[in-house]
């Protein structure tokens, strides 16, 4: 039925290009062909971990509401299912999908076919074995006991090795690049390739004890976001917003300010998790200072993206990619400003060690990073699968489930967490009162989580369809709404 809306004449009129354009497009197709299999492998396994990880997350969430549910089965207890959730979505979904996006982006931005494809296959396989092995160990109760570093050493080692193979291929591609000028997204990608291995190795040296270990743990935990997950998200946002809209990013200079301030300040942030802890005061203070200074890079990125999009918000109506990515980019601004304020001592006294922090974390990793990855995958897949997404309605469902789900999740936990924190600080109230007060908010959180899971199932189903080129044959893009194609308004 979709095919009926486009006549043959229109098709031919779209096809008229100058020869220069044709060769450029042909080059892009060659690049896409070179990355197809590794990218699909990364995405497919990443989405697998996403679905699995969301199930684990939902289970963990429901345990707050129904504490005795499934409590008799050791491997389904909260203490195991929660790290399973975290590691599955972070090292499985976000990292693998992010790696897939980086492969495609690097190739496209270097105007070069991907190099050393074998290294990408090796990387994807090692990485997935590492994650699977780590999760099985967590299910059996083997846990290193540090947040973000729960995986036992061998699993961590496999992932690190996978990362090195991945980085090798990206760096080789970069060295054979056919452009002089490096686009902003590439800065973030390359920087993260240097920063992340350094971080991982230093964190795993195993020479920390007591207070130093706590400091190292949070230095690592926050920096995993700073030097790996956030650069992926920003690289995506910097690429897809101007790409879909079809105009240059607003300002190179803002890009520079954003990048260097990010590089300077973000890596000091972790210790703000230990406000009030037995650390030297200056260490905590320096971390708070750096966290507040994060306003600068975040502002630079937000202004840059906003001024690029301005006047084109209309396109959010059509393009799923743009809608996901703009949602992600707005969440980045929100979550970063929130984080800067959370680091302040007076705020941390109430909000830390409550559900508030969980809400914040999800706004970052889901509202920002995952939404951008969804947008990226919706853009990349038709190009490498050579097939349109069969069901635009499912994309719509995915978007609304994810967007409303995460909004509900974050608002509920921020409110509930704040109430919980004030009650915990009130010496005239018993501790149990602060727990009971969070109950309705925790139900709302579980509802939000369920919605997100529904979105993921729609997404995963459609992903399987597109890689097998099944479903209805569509000749028109899977936009939310189809635009009337007129002369001055040709499709983007």
């Amino acid at each position: 039925m979709a095919a009926q809306t486009t006549t043959k004449e229109q098709f031919i009129s779209f096809a008229s290009h100058t020869t220069e354009e044709v060769s450029e497009k042909q080059h892009r197709v060659e690049i896409d062909d070179s990355v197809t299999s590794p990218v699909v492998l990364y995405f497919l396994t990443g989405i697998g971990w996403l679905v699995f990880g969301s199930l684990a997350g939902l289970l963990a969430a429901l345990k707050f509401n129904l504490p005795d549910w499934l409590g008799g089965t050791p491997f389904l207890t909260f203490g195991r299912i929660r790290p399973v959730h975290l590691n599955s979505v972070m090292y499985g979904w976000a990292s693998l999908a992010g790696a897939g996006m980086i492969v495609w982006l690097t190739s496209r931005l270097c105007r070069a076919k991907i190099k050393e494809t074998w290294a990408l296959y090796v990387s994807a396989v090692l990485w997935n074995i590492g994650v699977a092995f780590g999760l099985v160990s967590l299910f059996f109760g083997y846990n290193q006991g540090m947040e973000w570093l729960e995986f036992p050493k061998p699993a961590g080692g496999l992932i690190a090795l996978g990362f090195l193979f991945f980085a090798y291929s990206i760096v080789q591609t970069f060295r054979k690049r056919q452009v002089e000028h490096l686009y902003v997204s590439l800065w973030y990608i390359l920087a993260s390739l240097i920063w992340f291995p350094l971080l991982y190795v230093v964190a795993n040296l195993g020479i920390y004890h007591g207070v130093t270990e706590a400091a190292m743990n949070w230095w690592f935990g926050h920096n995993a976001l700073a030097v790996w997950f956030t650069p992926i998200g920003l690289a995506g946002a910097y690429y897809f917003i101007p790409k879909v809209i079809g105009r240059p990013i607003y300002s190179y200079y803002l890009g520079l300010l954003g990048f260097w301030a990010f590089a300077l300040f973000y890596n000091w942030n972790g210790i703000h998790h230990l406000v009030g802890g037995p650390l030297p005061t200056w260490l905590v203070t320096v971390s708070i200072v750096a966290s507040v200074m994060m306003f600068v890079p975040v502002m630079a990125v937000a202004v840059n993206h906003h001024l690029t999009t301005i006047g084109h918000f209309r396109m959010l109506k059509y393009s799923p990619t743009l809608r996901f990515v703009v949602f992600g980019s707005m969440s980045y601004t929100a979550v970063s400003f929130q984080g800067s304020i959370e680091s302040l001592r007076s705020f941390s006294e109430v909000a830390h060690f409550t559900q508030y922090t969980i809400g914040h974390a999800h706004l970052g990793v889901y509202g920002f990073l995952s939404m951008i990855l969804f947008g990226a995958i919706y853009y990349i897949m038709p190009r490498i699968a050579k097939w349109e997404w069969p069901y635009p309605k499912l994309i719509k469902l995915h978007f609304w489930m994810s967007a409303v789900g995460i909004a509900l999740y974050v608002v509920a936990l921020n409110m509930g967490g704040w109430i919980q924190g004030t009650m915990m600080n009130d010496p005239s109230l018993p501790f149990i009162a602060s727990v009971n007060a969070t109950k309705p908010y925790l139900w709302a959180r579980s509802l939000g989580g369920t919605m997100m899971l529904v979105g993921h199932l729609a997404f995963a189903y459609q992903f399987l369809l597109i890689i097998y080129r099944s479903g209805p044959t569509r000749y028109v893009p899977a936009w939310f709404e189809l635009r009337k194609t007129t002369e001055e308004d040709k499709p983007v």
Binding site: R247, L257, M293, E388, I467
Partner: protein, 242 residues
């Protein structure tokens, strides 16, 4: 860099101004080949057509514009830098290794702070899990405290129970129980135990006098090292004391 934007006015335009390319003949031969196609089971001419259209509608790779950084962004950045420099100076703890230098609580008056122990809080935090918020207990598992002869008859019995635990058959308000209550002598202070018992003796419709920490302390010393009581033992002790 040729894409440099002219003025802010152009932002209202629907699309970035690009010179319209002169249309040429529709391409005769495929502009790209469908080789290296790792996907199967589809009419390849369909795939080709669809892919062609996907590629055709794509915009060029993104570039940077060169608009200047808005001056308010610089202003805010510099302001923040100053404010945070001040913060670092004020709360930096002279870069000493001492923890908690900031915001040492100013204790009212001199000497120790006296923390008031509240019976309802100890009850809610410790006893409530078993004896319930309404003091009615759980049928067959946890005996009630409201109207319980064990709690109300004298002040020694509840002190003994809470300090060293209770085990075995017991009849409370005519109902039988056979369970185990843990000991609390190693978990709660004299003040806390006294407060909890006093609270229980005055809540749930009970009206018995309070118990003092001194009484608890003497009980604690008398029975140091013992295990859980049985109901019979308590009953005997009670009779002797009379």
């Amino acid at each position: 860099m040729t894409q440099r934007r002219k003025s802010k006015k152009s932002e209202g335009d629907k699309r970035a101004p690009q010179s319209v390319p002169a249309p040429v003949e529709p391409i005769q031969q495929p502009a790209f080949s469908d080789e290296g196609d790792s996907f199967i089971d589809s009419d390849s001419s369909d795939v080709h057509k669809i892919h062609f259209r996907i590629v055709s509608r794509e915009q060029g790779e993104p570039e940077e514009g060169f608009e200047p950084t808005p001056s308010w962004v610089w202003a805010v950045s510099v302001l923040l830098l100053f404010a945070m420099g001040f913060y670092l100076g004020k709360y930096g703890g002279s870069f000493d290794t001492i923890a908690h230098q900031v915001e040492q609580p100013q204790l009212p008056g001199s000497g120790e702070v006296k923390i008031e122990v509240k019976g309802d809080m100890v009850y809610a935090g410790v006893c409530q899990a078993c004896h319930q918020a309404d003091g009615k207990g759980v049928e067959g598992k946890y005996p009630p405290l409201g109207g319980s002869e064990w709690l109300l008859q004298d002040s020694f019995t509840p002190a003994r129970i809470v300090l060293y635990g209770l085990e075995g058959e017991i009849r409370v308000k005519g109902k039988g129980f056979n369970n185990k209550m843990p000991q609390f002598h190693d978990k709660l202070s004299n003040e806390e135990i006294a407060a909890a018992i006093s609270f229980a003796r005055s809540a749930f419709g009970n009206k018995a006098p309070a118990v003092t920490p001194v009484e608890i302390d003497s009980m604690r010393r008398t029975y140091t090292g013992r295990m859980a009581w049985s109901a019979a033992e308590l009953e005997n002790l009670r009779k002797k004391q009379k």
